[in-house]
């Protein structure tokens, strides 16, 4: 299955992927949309990165998307790449998987037997492996719209447009003065996108504060599983995981408060 092709074609050139047959789905234009329906924002799998970046609807509900899109590859690549392709590629260093995980998104997978809805938690099975089976297609991403939301994406990269050294997507939902719910997901610090569930638990029910964010950052840094590579040693990545978690939560809180007021 080929959509934007900006992950698959490079893998084919490197002989990491050797498909006998490619099905070009770019003509399925009805899968390119961003709309609000039934208390959710629904995004068609074939929606391109530049459309996510420019979407007023996403900007209003989930500014984390624009944060991430500004630092995904470059504008020309973003003209082709799609959200469905990004999620289905399931590269642990990819940004949108973290964004969708933090926002508690669900994905719709279609096959000849009908459609099924899978949470992001169950969607990521392993490195480059998802819940999509043979003869199935990821068609839609659904994100619940809830009151008091704020979200932000923080990424450190070696140079503009590169994969993350570490990236963190943070979302929280404020109710009065407390955090009713929180979503935290980290890119490039494990075999798949890391859902920082223990840090999320720590945030829930408490009032947002610098101390709380630092504690959540420390937990996320402890729970992620980075490996040393050309992008840096393990301790540096853990440091980034903690610091970026703090920054993402800080900015998400500011945005949630702006929305409440």
């Amino acid at each position: 299955m080929i959509a934007g092709g900006h992950s698959l074609l490079p893998m084919m050139k490197l002989r990491l992927a050797n498909p006998e047959l490619l099905v070009d789905i770019n003509d399925l234009e009805h899968l390119g949309y961003i709309r609000e329906q039934d208390g959710q924002v629904r995004i068609g799998a074939l929606t391109r990165h530049y459309e996510l970046l420019e979407s007023e609807l996403l900007g209003r509900h989930f500014p984390v998307f624009a944060d991430a899109e500004r630092v995904i590859a470059d504008p020309v690549v973003r003209n082709r790449g799609t959200i469905g392709g990004s999620l289905a590629q399931a590269d642990a260093a990819e940004d949108l998987s973290a964004v969708c995980s933090a926002l508690r998104a669900e994905v719709v997978i279609a096959g000849s037997g009908g459609e099924r809805v899978v949470s992001m938690e169950d969607f990521h099975v392993g490195p480059y492996t998802t819940a999509i089976q043979d003869a199935e297609l990821l068609i839609e991403i659904r994100i619940p719209v809830r009151a008091g939301a704020g979200s932000a994406h923080e990424k450190v990269e070696r140079r503009a447009g590169d994969w993350a050294i570490v990236a963190v997507s943070g979302a929280l939902w404020l109710n009065g003065g407390t955090i009713a719910d929180a979503g935290l997901a980290l890119s490039a610090v494990g075999p798949t996108t890391i859902h920082a569930t223990r840090a999320e638990d720590h945030l829930r029910g408490k009032a947002p504060s610098e101390e709380l964010f630092a504690e959540a950052g420390a937990i996320a840094a402890e729970d992620c599983r980075p490996t040393a590579d050309g992008r840096g040693p393990v301790d540096y990545k853990r440091h980034l995981a903690g610091e970026l978690t703090r920054r993402a939560l800080r900015r998400a809180t500011e945005r949630a408060r702006g929305q409440e007021g």
């Binding site: 530049y50 020309v76 690549v77």
Partner: protein, 159 residues
């Protein structure tokens, strides 16, 4: 497989291998070697052409995927001996040295100005951030695109 791809308004019909990249399809067409094949990893931007008006990296699009779409290459910029303002801008502001990145830069700049006729320096730098110039003439390239923007707004609107 047989494909029909419209390049600069002219339908090109050819029998191809399914794995053929768009950049090679274009360059294998007589008279259309202006599009450059650079890094082959969608990093350098030398191969940028417009597909339905949007700049894309033609090393990372299969020719078969361009069937039914309108491709525009650097050769389309000059019309009847008159340079496009972005070409003239690169000339006036010395926007190239070796020239390898130039076709991609020009097509990226053309698409930017079509969408945003009066871009700031920052908007220009963002737009060309997917194109690499190893002569490091970015300052001149930015000035060249600004030159084009200023001279286009002064002239009659382009059709």
């Amino acid at each position: 497989m047989q494909v029909t791809i419209s390049i600069n308004g002219e339908p090109i019909i050819r029998e191809i291998e399914p794995a053929l990249l768009l950049v090679h399809f274009i360059r294998d067409t007589p008279g259309l070697t202006g599009t450059h094949w650079g890094c082959d990893t969608s990093n350098c931007g030398a191969c940028v052409v417009q597909m339905d008006g949007l700049p894309v990296k033609s090393c990372t699009v299969l020719a078969a995927m361009a069937e039914g779409h309108e491709i525009r290459t650097v050769e389309s910029l000059e019309v009847d001996g008159v340079l496009d303002p972005v070409q003239q801008g690169f000339h006036e502001e010395h926007g190239l040295q070796c020239g390898f990145c130039t076709p991609g830069m020009l097509m990226t700049a053309r698409a930017l100005l079509d969408a945003n006729p009066n871009p700031s320096e920052e908007e220009i730098r963002t737009a060309i951030s997917g194109a690499i110039c190893r002569c490091t003439g970015y300052s001149n390239i930015v000035r060249a695109i600004r030159w084009a923007a200023e001279h286009e707004s002064a002239a009659a609107p382009r059709s």
